[in-house]
Every structure is written in C-alpha cells, then in structure tokens.
Symmetry: D2
Subunit: 417 residues, 4 copies
C-alpha cells in the first residue's frame, strides 16, 4: 500500500506546501519511504526513509521549487524509489503492474506521448494500480480496470489535485470532485481536462475491501461511501448478526485503535454502554517493538495499559476490525482478564481472512497464507487460541451491506481464489 | 508539573529498566526535560531535552548501572536540572517550595540525616510539592502538608517504588500500595519502612483539582479515585446540570483529546449518541505548531480533521475539560461549522478558571490572570467569543461530587483568592 | 564537481561495502548529496543529503543487496538525484553535457543497446563529462572527447572498478589499471572488456588543471601523474621563479589546508624552514560558517588559530594553491600579522584565475567572472587588497611543467576564452 | 583529562558565547560529555553526550542566559555530571581528589564561604586537580599543590577568564595573564582579585609531562613554554640523540597526527627532507572504528591512506610522540611497507611509558600497567613487535630539556613508582 498526492497549480503558487501537507494526511498509507518531486524549469527531488516529519519541513520549499509536483509515501521500502524523475517527467505508481516483461521505460515512453497514447496500453496492463504522471504538459492519471486501487480528483481555484484519498485534498483546503472510474484515464493540461473512459470496465469500482476495513483514513470518502460510516455500520451489522445474550454488567470496547469506530457502532446498535478500555501512550517511540520480546517477559505495559477501573468485574465485548495472525488480539484478551474482566467476547467486524491477495491485484501485503490464522483454524479453534469466551465474525454480505458496495474486491475472504 | 519515578531494588535487579518504563508512563506530566540517576557504588546520571524516547533506550542501562535510582520529567525547562546528584545522594522535587531563603543545600543537609531529621523541617516548608530523595541508606519520600501534589507508594517482591502516579507503577508490573498522606514522610531502608505522619495535616488530601480534570493519566487512581471515572462522572454531572433541549439529530463529541471521556459520560447520561468528531493525525511532528501561524491563513488542517460525514446537518454538543484562553475551542467550533454542523453547543466539564495558582501552591502553570478568558468575560461573552450556539460549565459542587472529594485544591475557580 | 564509484563483482561478493568505502575516499569531490544504487535481481537505491557518514553505515548493506552497483556524490544539489535508476539500469554522470535538446531518456536508450551503439552518440556529445552506466549486462564507462573529466579503471580478482579517482580504488584494496583515454568507451561484461577508442580525441587527456591544483586527493594518480607530487612541484616551481630576497628569520607556511603541500615544496627548493602556521580545530561542526558573520566582529577564532610562538617576529612566506575571491587569504594575512609576523609574503602556486569555466566544459563551479579578483585587478592591486607585503603567482608554463602535462585544460588562466 | 572554561563578565555581556567558543578550543581535552552552566538571577544548565557541536549552537544562548558561567568537557563519562549546579553555585573539577572520605558537599561548603576559608582545606587535598567554582560573589580557582593539572587566567576588558589552556582564552579574543601557581587560590570578585599563595608548594609547576607530549593543543603556552615549540624541540632532541646513519633516499614523516610537529623538528635538525606520509580522511564518522575489526581483514583504508608516490623506494623515518600499547604504530609501519617503503625507522619523541599514573595524581588515563608495551618488553622486543627496521626513544633528560622544565611530573617513565 502506498499514497500519491499530486498538484498542478496553473497560477504561480508553489506546489511544495500542498504536497507536504497532503502527504501528512496520507501518512497512514505508508511509513517507510517518502519522496517529493517538483518542477518548473528544472525538476527537483528529495526522498527519505521513514515519515514525512522525519524528512521534510517547510524550509524544503526553497529547494523543491516549482508550481507542480508529486509526492509519494509507501509502506515497504521499494526496489525503486518514487517519485521517478527523468528529464521533465515525474511518475508514481501505487500498487503493482503484474504483466511479465513490463518496464518503466515502456510506461514512460507511452506517458510522454499523452493520454490518448495510453488507452490501449492501459487495457493491456494487469494488476491493481493507480498511476499519476506529470510533465510540462500537465498530469496524466489512470486507475486499473477493476478499480481496485483508489484515486481521487480535486480542485481549488485553478489548481488540480490527484490523490489516493479524499482526506488529503480536504486537508489542504481543496474540493473533492470525484473518484476516477475503473480503467479511466484523465489528462489535465493547462487549458482543459480530457477524459478517456474505459469501455470494458465495471461501472462500480471493485475497490479493495480492506480500504474500508483498515487502510483508508476515517475522514475519507471512497467511491461515494464514508469510511467512518462504513466502519460504524460494520459494527452495527456485527451487532445485528449477534446471537449471544450478555449478562449485566456488560460494556463494549474497541481494540485500540483499529476497532474503535466499529465498537461504537456495535454498542449503539446493541444498546450496551461504550467505554474506553485502554490508554494508549503516544510518547513511545516507533523503535520500541524491537525490544518488546524481552520486556514482555516481565509483562511491562508501555504502549497500551488497560483502565482497570473500567474493566474490573465487567463482561467485556471487544470489537476489532480483523484478525490476521491472532497474536495481538490474544495479548489484548489476556490484558483484559488481568485487569479484572469477568469474561471477554471478541467480535470481528469483517469476515475471516483466509487468503492473501491474489496475484493479479498486488493490493494488500498480508502474510503467507499459512500464517493466516483463519486459513488454518476454525472459528472455535481461533477462539481457544486467542483465549476469549466467545468469538464471532461479521458475514461477507454484512460487510458489503455496511460498505454499500456489493462489488467489493474481496478475494481475502473466499475459499478457492 | 513534573513526574517522579523512583525504585529501590533490594535484590540485585538493575533499576534502570523500571525507571525507563516508568517514565514513559509519566511522560504526559512533562515533555521538556528528562533525567535518570542510578547508583550502586558510584552514581550515574544522564539528562536530556524533550522526551524519554529522544534520550534513552534500553542500552543506556549499561551506563546507568545500579540497583536503585530516580527518574524525573518535567514540563518546563528548569533552572536546575533534576535529578540533582551529589556524592551518594539523588534528589527530585515536583512542585515548588515557596519559603524565602530556601536552599537545596539546606534540604540536602536535612535529608542526609534521615527521615526523622526532616519532620520539623517539612512542617516549615510552604508550597505544593512532592520530594523523593535517595542515598545509600534508602529512600525518603515526603508530600506537602496539604497534599496538593500527588505521590504514591508501590512494591514488587522486595522492591519499593515511589511515583507521581499509580499508572507508572502498574506499567512496570508493580502493586500500588497507597498514596502518601498530606505532610507524611516515609523512609524506606533495607530492612523496614518507617512512617513519620503529620499531626497537623488534613486527613483527606487537598489534591489539585486539575490532576483529575487534566493532568493525570486516565488509568491512574489518585487518592482513592479513578481519574477516568472522575472524568466520566464530570461529563455525567454536566449532563445532569443541563438545561437545554436539543433538537434531532443531535450528537455528542469530545474535544480531541482532552474532552473525550467526559463526552462519553455526558452522552451516556443524556441518552444522546456519542460519535467521533475528528481524526487526529499522530504522524505530525511536535515542531509543527511553530509554523501554524502561516498555514492557518489558508486553513490547512494537519493535526485534526473533522469527519464531515458525521457532522453534516447535525446539532453537535462539544464537550471539553476546561477553557483557559479560549483560542483552541474557538477554532474547534469554527471547524465544526465548516464541516456542516447545524449548531454547536459547548459544554465544559469543570467550572470557569478565573485564577491562576495561588503563590503557596506552585501547582499549575496557567497564563497570567489577564489571559484567562473566564477572568475577563462572562459566560455569555465567552460564548460569543468562541462562536458557539450555547455554552455551559459544570458547577464547583458538581466537580467535587464527580471527584468524590470535597477538599479538592481549587483556588482556580474562586473569586478572591 | 562530483564523484563516481562503480563496482561489478563477477563472484558472489556484495557490492555495497566497496561502494560505501569507495565513496568515503571520494568525499572531497562533493558534500551535498550522496547516493548508492545496487542490483542483482532487483535494484535498490538510497539517496541522502550531506555526507556519506550522515546517510550510510555498514547495516545499509542489508537493504542495498546485490553484486554490482554505483555510488555517487556531488557538490551541489542537483535537479535530478543520482544515481538514476530505471528498470535494471543505473546511470551516473560527473560533469555536464551541454548539447541543446539532450535528454537522459535518449542517453538511456543508447546505453541500453550496449557500448557499440554509443560510439557515434558519444562523438555528438559536447562538454566535460564522465559517464558510468550499469545494467544486467555489465558496465559501460565513457569519458568526454577531450578528457577534461577524470575516470579510472581498476580491478581486484574478478571484480572491475570504475571511479573518478585512483585513491578510492586503492582504498578498497583494488589495483589501479589505467585512466580511460579521451573519448573512449569501455564496456565490461561478464566475460570480457570491450574497448571502443575514439579516433579523433587527443592522445594525452586535456585534464582539468584544477584537478591537480585543488580538486583531487593528494594520494591519487591522475593520467599518470601523482597529485601530491604535482602540488609539491608547483611549490618548487614557484620557488624557482622567486625574485625576492628574504631577510632572516623567515619561515614558509602553507595556507591551511589547501597550500600545505606546495608550501613544503617551496620551502625545500628555497632552503627556508617549513613550519606549521595554524592549528585547525577538527571538532567544529560544518554548520558553523553560517554564524561566522556575527562572530567575526569580535574576532573569535574557531576553526583556525595561528600558532603565535611560531610566527612572532618572523618574516612569513604564506603559500596557497590559488586565489578566487580573495576574502579568505585576506583574513589569513590579517591573522598572521595579529600573531606577530613582521611581514607576510603571499605566493600562489598557480596562475591568476581570470576566467570561469568555458561553456563547453561544465567542469568547475567558480563564481561569476566579475567575482574573480584576478579578472578585475592587477597583481599589485590584489596585493594591496589582501594586505600582504608581496605577492607572486606561478606562471602557466610553470604549472604545466609541475603537472608534467602541456595539454592541461586551462581556460581559467587565459584572457580571451 | 578534562577541560574547564569559565568567564565572569562584569559588564552586561552574556557569558554563553564565550564559553561555547572556549569549549570548542578545549575539545581535544575531552569528547565524551560536555556541559555549560550560566547564571544571573537563576542558574541554567545543559549537559550532553559527545562533542560541543553535537549539543550546542548559538541559539542555546537564549536558554543559557546570564553574565557568568562555566563550561566543562571530559574524556570519560563521569559518575557525576559537571558542571555541578546547586543553588547559586557552579563547580567543576579537572582531575582527581584522592583523599579518602572526600565529599563534594564538604568542598561546596568550603567554597561557599569564600577563598580564605579554603586555604587549609586545599592543603589537605591530595591528587592532581584544578578546581573552578563560581557563585554570586565571583570565581574561586585553585590548582593542586604540585601544579600537576594546568589552569590559566585571562582577561578581556573587565571580564575574567579561567581555563585549562591558554588557546581557549586566545580563541575568544582574551589576553592570557598567567598560569596559577601550584597550590594557589585565586578569588575574583566584582571589584578585585585576591590571591592566596601556597607557602609549601614548588615554585615551578610539576606539570604533567603528557600535557606537552600529547594532551595540550599546539597553540597553547603552558607554564611559560609553547607546546608547539616543546614538541618541535622533542623532535630536535630525538635527532640530536640519533645514532643511526641513513642511506639515500631517506625522508622523515610524522605519524598522523600526533607525531607531525616532532617530525618537522627531527627533519630540520637531521637535515633530511620532511614529507607527508598519509592522507587523512576528515569525512569519516567517529563511529567508524567499531566496524574496524571486520574491514581490517580486507585491508580497507578509510581514515588514513599512505601516499604511495612519496614512499615508494624510500627509507622512511617515522616519528611519533609516544607508544602506549603499540597496536597503532604496528599498523602504520605495515602500511608504509605495503606502500613501498624500503625500510621503516621508528623514532619516539619521549621516553618509554612503563607506568600508568601514580595514585596521587589522577592525571592520565592510560591502560593497566600490563597493557603498556614498554613495561613488558625491551626496546629491541618492541621493535620486533611493531615490525620496524629500527626503533629509538628520546631520553628523559632530552624530554625535560625540550620542555624547558626539569620538574615535570614524570612517573610514567620511572621504574619504581
């Protein structure tokens, strides 16, 4: 997963500041590398490891001059650093093009010739990807033919934005126009915006289900659906499908921080009080987990501490967004019991993950299939492993209903994919 | 405000790791300087600017050897860096001793002679303070005569802890024993714990009201009362005192992050749905606010973005813990309106702050009295300044009820102090 | 000016370590950006600001895996960061290609087709430059047709090196083979080295005179001549051309650190004692000069302090390599007088610089012509400006004799260039 | 070894800038910790690990306000960080007070009472030390009774300086007045300077021989003798005592960088050309040596590279200041042979070190006696170990003659100490 933020200012405004702030709003999509390239007469580029704040501040605008540019962040260190800069061109890709023999030089040669030259070429490209390219003529943006990866258009005055998520366009004071359609190419030049629609693509984007479940930021709206409201609705649907009768006193808490919104939805639908279960310590450094192994022995709680006063003597419904390996939720259940919970009932606001991404998508970086706990074990077995008193998952129809999209890209939940 | 964490291991365990993790759990009490001193045959000390994570990692244990030690964090750069180390003694003070002519050398001379030598001396000391001292004989801890500043005792096996807050003792796996009583001296040596009670002090600690309102961490229990539950109850009491009738659709949100718990209490008591109003971006650097002035102009939202999908067309009850200058809440109200809120009703879960700390306490660092918005303006005037549709504060009796302590140190809310 | 270091290991040895150490030995050629790209099946790249030590350590070898790669450092922040990586290709250029309409995409297209496809193309390229390219087939290295920029071949076992200077090849334990000839292309593949000589180019490289005067490191041998010995000989030639008779006691000192070797040569030839005139403080940070303006007022000496005991009462011959603007040498002369020198005689071991690089070379980044002190003033006027008792320059024939090359690239010293 | 720099500005000038620049000039005396304390009405202190430049810049003057203050650097991380600050007092000590039962609290109590109260107390203190103390009344400086540790007085206008070395006083534009005499106490107050001489102490300071050999900076003058000229004279004396006849071509080089000045003196006295043997790479980071073990295997030369063109075919006289363990010089000899030296003759410009500091001095931190190569082996054995063709040391009388002081503190060179 990665994030793109491009701006094309037609007035004389500098691009850097918008890109810089836009990347801050996309930081959840990647924390490993970050790069910004800008251009006017010359192209400038700066790329660094880790976070936006570790590499950039407003003074970088002196070097990164120019009225247009693209920023990029990603979650895994890539073999090739993005943005790619060559002569007057800047190129970024979120996702993976999976055709054999694909080269960036070919892609650049097509893009250099303009949007219309890319129509057939895009139709030949496989995978889940969003491409954003810029040269002296303007921006070319394109989205894979299924619409697996998100890409959004925005504007402010005479400026045009292209970004992975709407929240970043709003963060810089822009107006969100619309998402690119699956397989669509949009070429933005100094005087017009040219749209090259795809004849063959689905009308509704087969957007990756995990964008709603986990990836995207809660204040983004993706393909017409609020991410926050989708998550809240996942909680509500999970409560609607609930079959257990809970004794008093029962509280609902969210697994920090991925399950908080779904927990609110669950609590609201179930009519059970929502409480905060843990305090998160935001002062702990990123490097901390490395030494976690040692300190776990003595049960030192650094990042998360249960609020004993809330939990003691309670039946606790713990809502989370998903279970991948099961190690974190196991620790959470254990922490709740140590803090005095009488019982712990885990509710997952999405279906069991039994599949990593299919080869075609390149969409999500999950562990090998053998490491997925739901691929290897039944729900009852998982319950025993994580140590909870009960465990239930949201159904796939429930997920799609919550996301208001029955065309979600969802190979993760399917047996024979 | 600052934080103390001391450990005296009677076995051969190294002190550093407990202090290091304990300070992480106290980081909310200070972000400007941090220091750790340990001793066995020699005393070692390391002091740095900013956060624990900016200055220490587990490898520092090699240098900071020894089975006992004290860590200290504080919010303002101090004239004298703590812990103070001299010969075999380590000394820290949270708060202020306000006697004229007071010197640290005098204090050290008394402490060097042991707990009993400090009884009369402590009675002569004015202000709000917690002192933790250590030499080869053990720990001497003492709390000011009113109990304004908190100080807690804990143990694990044969080890003794002294800390500003219980959450830090729990974080390292210790058991919380009790708070020091007002004016009490406790001397912990290799074979016993000697208590020197104060004849003149109040039974119930006059603990600073702001510990419950804002300072302390939610998972701490202070003088017998859970900080989380006190804040939740402040929200409930605020709802109980509510006089307004709200139209549908109304939601309750907390001002991020200080008002979240009170907002949950308010929502629960009022029977109005609790929602998340903002997304906080945890990837933004600390240095950011410095450039805020420039970027505010164009209304760039970096640290906090409203969740438009939740707010549009809603009547919003915005709960916060307190108003000091009023600048932040004004911005928050404005952000909510821009995100489509039909009306914004501000509820403050504590009384108006019309006084900075009295001279005797040294307890809280608030602005000059002239900068306190509630000192200069009436509630209705404040409402206009912050731009909300209505504004109400919790009463002082309501606050004391929520904190279950009618002896709170509360000069902040009183006219003629 | 910049520096290239490439290695192609035909065995399974990792390339990173050689590149990392090789770049250390080239750091004098650039302190603004540094980048390393390596490849095996995938290409990895890391680029950073400032020095090698600020960006890399041996652990980077984990990420920068692969048996071949190229490192690059440069003195000015470039519009495009090098090495350039695209698909399986890595490209670096030291210097400037000055043809109008030149694009890197064209260059990459030629290089991708192999060395023979570049012969005519190279002949069409103008400027002073050294190119080093690598893809899965091996290395292609080429040097501009006049040989203005240096480029050297080396080997160790079955490994091949290409570098800007021989010192870096020796630093990693390699054997220096020879410099590339002007206009020569060398293609190194898994089984052979193919040479494409230039028919039209000069036999002896018109290597830039400033490589010997200032750029190159003293332990490099460039186009057959030791840089140290060239500088020592410049000092000797300067003494040979000396017309002044000095009184006793006279000493020779070098301007720190650029004039030290020439000063030794001068002292030896003149039979006058060589002494150290200044102590250089190597503990001062790089950022220091920024605040220099303020501190100069009070004449604080941080980086360089004169050794008063050596200078007091002496006639001092101060030898430097060149004068560009004249500000530094003026300060040095003043410092010597303040430290008690009876007279100061400046001797420059190269001719007056009256020209910046011609357009064709892109070879040296000197100030605008109007800022060159020797372009605007006569030798006697310069003497007055810098405040010395006498001033003399080495002649151009003397320089060429010292460098053992009468074909030096020398537009800097010529009137009508 | 450590360094002290104190300033007492009687006008309203801020102390920070002088201390900051003064410490830069003392950095060679310690690279492990650095601290600065300043005071006016309040005392401020900042202490950090590693170098001045790693911890301070001019902006620190905002926090470190005040017209007087003391800075301190030291070579080993100390158990107690200096400067020590307590109430209005600032205290630093270079060296060691070796009395049993000595406490800093006692020392502070005496100093607080003023210079006259310290006379008898100082006479009771054993060891080699220099003390600099400051409170609101001014400075108290004192030097141990033998004068083992250096301490110098300076002034500029109405300002007074106390520093470990004269070079730092000159660096900030001050005038060097004189060294403190052995056992002398100097109390500087707002209106006068009071001197408390020692009746019992030697007239000429028994200053530590290693100050001249290695510790002090070359531009310092210590107890009346220029450090540079002492080192040059050590080289001359070594040549004067020379018994070997060298064949042509012979050159003299200094071991980088400790032997350079002595090598010049040797070359001058012997009439043999002085040359530069190595290039030192100043761009290499401090952390580098840690990985040295690995890279040595492949003989990668990072910090120092021999200049082959100077060495090939030459008989090389390699001059160094001292041999402690012998590992460095062994590597240097080996490097010279690899670079083509026909023979390598090592000359040490001081006597064999057979003793670490006696208990009374605390003056020098050398390895355990068993690690001193000259304690365990004869000169001929050492020659074999380091692999040179010949080896000779300067005699102790020669050393004293070069330093113009026959009372040098010299236990390092004596059998039964």
């Amino acid at each position: 997963m990665s994030g793109i933020f491009a701006v094309y200012h037609r007035d004389q405004e500098d691009a850097f500041e918008d890109i810089y702030f836009g990347l801050y709003a996309l930081q959840h999509r990647g924390q490993e590398t970050v790069g910004i390239a800008t251009r006017q007469q010359t192209t400038r580029i700066k790329i660094g490891q880790n976070l936006v704040k570790d590499n950039f501040d407003l003074r970088d605008g002196d070097f990164l001059a120019g009225t247009m540019g693209i920023g990029f962040i990603e979650n895994n260190r890539h073999s090739i650093e993005m943005p790619i800069v060559l002569d007057d061109a800047i190129l970024t890709i979120d996702g993976l093009i999976t055709n054999e023999g694909f080269t960036l030089l070919d892609l650049l040669n097509h893009l250099r010739q303009g949007g219309s030259a890319c129509i057939n070429y895009l139709q030949s490209l496989q995978g889940g990807f969003a491409i954003c390219y810029m040269d002296h003529k303007g921006i070319i943006a394109m989205r894979d033919q299924k619409g697996i990866k998100p890409l959004t258009l925005g504007q402010r005055g005479t400026s045009t934005y292209v970004s992975s998520e709407s929240c970043s366009i709003e963060a810089v004071g822009g107006e969100v126009l619309r998402d690119l359609a699956p397989g669509e190419i949009i070429a933005v030049t100094s005087d017009k915006t040219h749209i090259y629609p795809s004849a063959d693509s689905p009308k509704v984007a087969n957007v990756c289900a995990f964008e709603y479940i986990y990836f995207a930021r809660e204040d983004s709206v993706m393909d017409g659906v609020s991410v926050y409201q989708a998550r809240y609705a996942m909680g509500e649907e999970t409560a609607r499908e609930e079959s257990h009768n809970f004794e008093e006193p029962t509280i609902v808490i969210g697994a920090p921080d991925s399950g908080l919104v779904a927990a609110m939805g669950y609590a609201h639908r179930a009519g059970i009080p929502y409480q905060q279960g843990f305090v998160r310590n935001h002062y702990v450094g990123r490097t901390f987990s490395r030494s976690g192994a040692d300190t776990r022995k003595r049960d030192v709680k650094i990042k998360l501490t249960p609020i004993r006063a809330n939990l003691e003597g309670k039946h606790v419904i713990l809502v989370d967004d998903s279970i991948i390996r099961g190690t974190t939720i196991h620790q959470t259940v254990q922490d709740l019991r140590q803090a005095g919970a009488k019982s712990v009932h885990v509710r997952i606001a999405s279906p069991p993950v039994i599949n990593r991404s299919s080869r075609e998508s390149g969409s999500i970086s999950v562990p090998e299939r053998e490491d997925l706990i739901a691929y290897r074990y039944s729900v009852e077995e998982i319950r025993k492993i994580i140590g909870s008193d009960s465990l239930a998952y949201l159904s796939l129809p429930g997920l799609k209903k919550a996301c208001q999209n029955d065309q979600l890209y969802d190979p993760y939940f399917k047996e024979n994919h």
